[in-house]
Amino acid sequence: MAKLEVHLWSGLRRFVDGADKVEVEASTIGTMLDGLKETYPGLAPIIDAGVSVAIDDEIVNGSRHRQLSSEQEIFILQKIKGG
């Protein structure tokens, strides 16, 4: 488990006491999302409805088991698909 810094879009900040980024102990995308939901229950319905995760310069969809490290820059984004 690593201590991860997760950046949130500003619409989520009211669920995390106004912070623009939060820390969570996790080793994968899945455990990171689960950790966010557990620590900040207000985020749960939004995460459950589907989000995309940006790891450094790549937007990742799915991939709950992808490993994360504390050196990576992590953003939660609205789920991205397309036409």
């Binding site: 619409g11 790549e58 990742v60 969809n61 799915g62 953003f75 609205q78 698909k81 397309g82 036409g83």
Partner: protein, 745 residues
């Protein structure tokens, strides 16, 4: 992971004949409406004539009395208790308590002929209690607006706002006040775009069969057969694995065929008619009234710029209605509109709003064209005010790899600057312009997408290869995948056949959407091929009595990897395949993943127009699309995607819109009145393919399907501004609107 940027390819980048060409020019290709089955029935749908109405009573007695009518379904024939998106899908398939838009399905009937089904549909009596309606996004947000549905808003919407506001999006960074204070010019403007339809030539069509045991089959025109399977099963309360869905050839989708409309009705009618197959083919009017257009948008932009063109800060609020259900692509409008430039400080707010219109579906870079229209239009206006060159200002502020996007993460490998350079060097920019003529420039962006992907390939006994993919071929993916597989195997392009598979023969695939087919299915096909190559090297090693690691693959044959591996003549794929029955059996490869390494794509368009001062009509004199493809596997298809995106964007900018009467009924539901651009409206669209290879793909591919529709809206508005001096802020720029604006100068 990308192959060496400077490597010479044997096939990648060539322009062989398209594999579906002969079928399509001879009429052999089978589309959604082309399938028939013994004992087949025809289905017809009863649709609401009201924008918003309570359904009091449905009486099908007269319809069922007709000889040849076999079944009628209403919402009562569908399971209760669905929630979330499943409920939305069911409610949009067939209305429950209320009809939510003009054209909303309320009942369906199956009969022995199409005409009989349509006659029976007319005999189904529906009693409505008409309710107040709202179709405009700004009107729908007002506190006193008719409420479409309570309880739809998610937790992002602050208390006290209209129940029609269902989602709020916010992001930003920096000190906006300081940014505007540091600017030499701050301007703000409001913009509107109307809903437009994807305008695919082929209407929705399906042939569905389902027995009382819940087992079924479907032939359907779709971008995603697994989505059809999943969504129909959810709506009908059946098991996904019991429904086998086969995609037809597809006459255009552009995002509009990534979801369900009448497909579950076909299955429900079949189930109720003793399992007889039921075919439903929509009319154009049904397509326009009831299938997914894009959202309409109302947008405010405030931008700060220094005298040298440096952008200092931007504030945007986008409001978009996506019909009677959540899902307007507001966040993508914000993300993509803001993506091309370093703005300094950013404050972005968006609202997803519901209204009494058909549920919006994805449409080619959903949201991005609207966002670009607003931001690129104001950017252009400020360049004019400060006397700056529009292309130079874009260069000055363009994002490069490592820059942070306005919405948060950094960009990886991108080719925006290279795209602008190619634009600047194009001869179209040197063309002289005459009276009433003007030139417009705009940039655009789309993320591109990976998505669930499963591909299987097999070596045939004669050394040719077949590939099964789950992404329907909308824009040339079969040709591109065949080229990549043939390149990897070292065989001829003609020796690879790519088949689009039905749901029973592969793992789950997301649709062909998000510009992902050539990227994701292509990458999976290459990885599947590499697995087959590994097996073929092993067969050769066994024959030679050496270790598999001592064998390499090149030019369509297994070869000893070096002098120490032994002296053996190359063993060709034909030799290995011909012997596979006696060396261990079939040779195949497969790959399943959510492919990583998606590469985003930027584009820049330049258009010259002439505006007739007497009629307000805008004629396009020349049009240029420049876009980063990563690497063009089959350049003709890439150019086709660029031209197609531009053509659709031109229609959106100049002509297309949904016209409603005061009762919320769509008034232009045929192509005579809903005017998409015709070939005679367009000049040849020039294209330049920029290639900054995507390091996340074996051949450097970026998706190319969607970015091309993003710049046309602002490029045309900027050109009309240059030609007339009038800034058009409300699309479409139809002749009557332009004429009115000219008179108001």
């Amino acid at each position: 992971m990308a192959k060496d940027e400077y490597r010479e390819f044997r096939l990648v980048g060539t322009r062989p004949d398209r594999p579906d060409g002969l079928d399509k020019v001879t009429g052999r290709a089978r589309y959604g409406a082309d399938m028939t089955a013994p004992g087949m029935l025809w289905g017809a749908v009863v649709r609401s004539p009201h924008a918003h109405a309570r359904i009091v009573k449905i009486d099908a007695t007269k319809a069922l009395a007709l000889d040849g009518v076999k079944s009628v379904v209403t919402r009562a024939d569908f399971p209760e208790g669905l929630t979330g998106e499943d409920w939305n899908l069911q409610e949009n398939t067939i209305a429950g308590e209320k009809a939510l838009y003009d054209g909303h399905a309320v009942a369906a009937v199956a009969a022995t002929t199409r005409f009989l089904a349509e006659e029976a549909a007319r005999l189904i009596e529906v009693e409505y209690e008409v309710l107040p309606h709202v179709i405009d996004v700004d009107e729908a947000m007002k506190p006193d607006a008719p409420v479409i549905r309570h309880g739809v808003s998610d937790t992002t919407v602050p208390e006290g706002m209209s129940p029609n506001i269902v989602r709020k999006i916010e992001f930003g960074n920096g000190d906006l006040g300081a940014a505007f204070a540091a600017a030499d010019l701050v301007m703000e403007k409001s913009f509107k775009t109307e809903a437009t339809h994807q305008g695919y030539i082929e209407p929705h069509a399906c042939l569905g069969q389902m027995g009382s045991d819940g087992k079924g089959e479907m032939w359907v025109c779709t971008q995603g057969q697994w989505y059809i399977r999943k969504m129909c099963s959810a709506v009908l309360g059946t098991e996904a694995s019991q429904l086998r869905v086969t995609p037809s050839e597809i006459g255009g989708g552009f995002g509009g065929k990534t979801t369900i409309f009448m497909e579950p009705l076909s299955l429900a009618l079949s189930r109720k008619a003793g399992g007889k197959p039921v075919k439903i083919v929509m009319s154009r009017s049904e397509v326009l009234r009831a299938t997914g257009p894009t959202a309409s948008a109302s947008m405010d932009v405030k931008l700060g710029m220094k005298k040298d063109g440096t952008l200092s800060g931007i504030q945007v609020e986008f409001r978009m209605q996506g019909g009677a259900f959540p899902g307007a692509p507001t966040e993508f409008a914000l993300y993509c509109g803001l993506a091309p430039y370093k703005f300094g400080a950013v404050e972005a707010v968006g609202y997803d709003v519901i209204a009494n219109r058909p549920r919006c579906a994805a449409y080619r870079a959903p949201g991005a064209p609207m966002g670009s229209f607003a931001i690129e239009s104001l950017l252009d206006e400020m360049c004019l005010k400060l006397g700056l060159d529009a292309l130079d200002v874009r260069f000055k502020n363009a994002v490069v790899a490592g820059d942070r996007a306005a919405y948060g993460p950094k960009f990886g490998s991108i080719g925006f600057v290279e795209t602008l350079e190619a634009t600047k060097n194009h001869p179209n920019l040197l063309a002289e312009l005459g009276p009433n003529q003007g030139r417009g420039i705009a940039a655009g962006y789309w993320f591109n997408h990976n998505g669930e992907t499963s591909v299987s390939m097999a070596i045939s006994e004669d050394g040719t290869a077949q590939v099964s993919v789950g992404t329907p071929d909308i824009g040339g993916s079969r040709a591109s995948i065949a080229l990549m597989v043939a390149e990897t195997l070292g065989i001829a392009y003609e020796d690879v056949r790519v088949n689009v598979a039905e749901t029973g023969s592969l793992g789950v695939n997301e649709p062909t959407h998000g510009s992902r087919a050539t990227f994701a299915s292509g990458k999976a096909a290459v990885l599947a091929t590499e697995a087959a190559i590994k097996e073929m090297c092993k067969r050769a090693a066994n024959e030679w009595g050496i270790e598999p690691d001592a064998v390499e693959w090149a030019d369509g044959a297994a070869r000893p990897a070096g002098p120490n591996a032994g002296q053996f003549p190359p063993m060709t794929i034909k030799e290995i395949a011909g012997a596979m029955g006696s060396t261990g059996g079939p040779i195949s490869g497969h790959h399943e993943s959510l492919p990583d390494g998606v590469g985003a794509s930027f584009g820049c368009h330049v258009v010259d127009v002439e505006v007739d001062p007497e009629t307000g009509r805008t004629e396009i004199l020349r049009y240029l699309v420049v876009q980063d493809a990563g690497r063009a596997i089959h350049p003709s298809y890439v150019e086709g995607q660029y031209q197609g995106g531009a053509a659709q964007g031109i229609g959106w900018a100049l002509n297309e819109e949904y016209v409603y009467d005061d009762k919320g009924r769509l008034q232009n539901s045929v192509f005579l009145d809903y005017r998409v651009p015709l070939a005679s409206d367009l000049p040849k669209i020039d294209t330049v393919i920029v290639e900054v290879p995507n390091p996340g793909h074996p051949y450097g591919v970026r998706g190319v399907g969607e970015t091309g529709i993003t710049p046309p809206l602002p490029a045309l508005a900027n050109a009309v501004r240059a030609a007339t001096g009038v800034r058009m802020t409300h699309l479409p720029m139809s002749p009557s609107k332009v004429l009115a604006a000219l008179k108001g100068r």
